[in-house]
Symmetry: C2
Subunit: 356 residues, 2 copies
């Protein structure tokens, strides 16, 4: 039996239960802006080696918690672990972003994709989750995650990062049935993957739809939203006697995507910095909690400005439960760690006023 | 005295006057997807040589009109002509995007920026406008354009393209007064530049705010929208005895930006493919015409799909005047020209039903 959580503010806020203050964590909080992360990354030799070694993954997951009073840990991993496990030849070249040596573009390529057993091909992730839970000792909850099927498909079809998404959009408009077959396989793999993370100890899960915002509204609903809704429907929702909240995040989706995500059965939705939380709250009609949404670039500013901008975000959400403070996207690698600390301190200082 | 326009559908639609069908043009219609453009570009030797030679600029401006029944020509130029004229060391390296050898980052850098006389430092643009007008002979109107001050500032401060906009966002949050000084200078230069284009013969002008969408809502209003509003307020609005419509386009702005742009006094706003025209029309409350918004990636699909998607865009705007058909962003360089032709033909075929 694992230890009860000494700080469960994050889980309670995701379920819109009252908390004495707004909990806070940061997307990519275990990452390059931390010198101790860069040191571990150096020892590991490569980004993939870091991800796929549970000891290293655990070490970097815990690093930000040693520095800052964060209310959640997030598994150190990558949204491309599934394509990696599918044997698509994932590599991270320095400064280049990910590339996939074997992109999936034809019906035959899609047919050829194997079915994954997460406890076999992605065992290193589950081992990392188990190890992190043990090392956390109940201090704060651990978040598991995956990329959305659409977002993962963009990398798989393009063969890496993209600016125009030409190949996958060509597939979307010219061969939508093929794309649906691919997304269906990825959704299946993602459900199994997230459920395996939950069984291994993840206490909340988040789906990152980083590229849902490049789709026209009807395409978004059909090719990204629908698959996230399916994932939510098939997730384990209770484990270790407690609700496992599910968070969906479409970057660049705006209020329409937020409104649509609020109807999936997810417990919370992430909000990027381009939508005001007041508008986001209106869009989701009290159906879900909101997570966000400070512009990550605010952390380039001096502490007084950071504090003022944290205040604006808290005020834009307003009073009552159901807000998890976060950046609107991952922390930039060139931010000074002290600036992240200033943000977190400001949330601790300023948020109790919204929870009376 | 110049010849009267034989096709003024575009200007009339921008002013929300009735037309027998929806006019159509394409952002970047003079561009790399056309083999004849690539041939001229080859002869010119470089992109900058192409832009800065009025004969070449005129030649490529007219190329798409020789192929397709378009309702407007747009000056072939670049949004970085102003930084080029400011002596900031603009270069376009093959496949790399623009770089500026002398970025503007300090108060002293901003002080040092010279005042431009568009008929002197940007004479080549005005000569191109005059030549194109002569060569067009009144077939269709000519659109002049500039980048928004915020968008041009991103290149000037970052020293080229950016994904995170780290330097300019740092300036925005940490030294907002400096950024306002820079934007003020750029707005002044842009007003003079667009008015010079109008005097030289541009019959409508468009301001491209390509990067306004990366700003948080309050920052967008303060650092991008406000300067576009000022430009609109100081533009020449009538020339050659006719209204010169002004079009503003914030890519990625969503309905909030559209609603805000509709109050600037602009005649029309551009809409990217991520907002449904029905929602856009609701957001602008009948104050302006709308221009857009087919996903440029639809042109990767076969003609039947293109026709269906054109139909969806027309239907989403609905009946009545005030719609100019366009892509939601520039045409991709790897699109087959015939696909653009299929889109334009579909607009000709399907749009009269919305103008009865």
């Amino acid at each position: 039996m694992s230890r009860p959580l000494s700080n469960d503010l994050f889980l309670r806020a995701l379920l819109r239960e009252p908390t004495p203050r707004t909990p806070v964590w940061m997307m990519r909080q275990a990452g390059r802006y931390l010198p101790e992360y860069r040191a571990t990354r150096e020892r590991a030799g490569s980004f993939l080696a870091l991800c796929s070694n549970p000891d290293y993954a655990c070490e970097v997951t815990l690093q930000p918690l040693a520095r800052f009073p964060l209310d959640a840990a997030i598994l150190f991993s990558d949204i491309l672990t599934i394509p990696h496990a599918l044997g698509l030849g994932l590599e991270f070249e320095a400064g280049e972003g990910p590339t996939l040596a074997h992109p999936v573009r034809s019906a035959a390529d899609i047919d050829r994709l194997p079915t994954l057993d997460p406890e076999r091909e992605l065992r290193y992730v589950m081992d990392a989750v188990r190890l992190i839970r043990r090392e956390l000792g109940g201090r704060v909850p651990l978040i598991g995650f995956a990329g959305s099927p659409w977002t993962v498909a963009t990398y798989i079809v393009e063969g890496g990062s993209s600016k125009t998404f030409a190949r996958i959009k060509a597939m979307l408009y010219a061969e939508p049935t093929q794309l649906h077959r691919l997304l269906d396989k990825l959704a299946r793999a993602t459900i199994d993957y997230l459920n395996a993370q939950i069984r291994a100890g993840a206490q909340a899960v988040m789906v990152f739809d980083t590229w849902g915002g490049v789709l026209a509204p009807a395409s978004y609903l059909e090719f990204s939203h629908a698959y996230m809704a399916r994932i939510v429907a098939e997730l384990i929702r209770e484990h270790e006697g407690r609700r496992v909240p599910a968070v969906l995040f479409t970057k660049g989706g705006g209020t329409d995507a937020l409104a649509a995500l609020a109807t999936t059965g997810a417990d919370a939705v992430g909000v990027d910095w381009c939508t005001d939380l007041k508008d986001a709250r209106h869009a989701v009609q009290g159906r879900v909690a909101l997570q966000g949404n400070l512009d990550p670039s605010v952390l380039y500013a001096p502490p007084a400005v950071i504090r003022a901008e944290v205040g604006r975000v808290l005020a834009s959400f307003g009073s009552g439960p159901g807000h998890v403070f976060n950046l609107g996207h991952g922390i930039h690698p060139d931010v000074a760690p002290e600036r992240a600390g200033a943000m977190i301190a400001a949330v601790h200082d300023l948020s109790p006023a919204y929870h009376s």
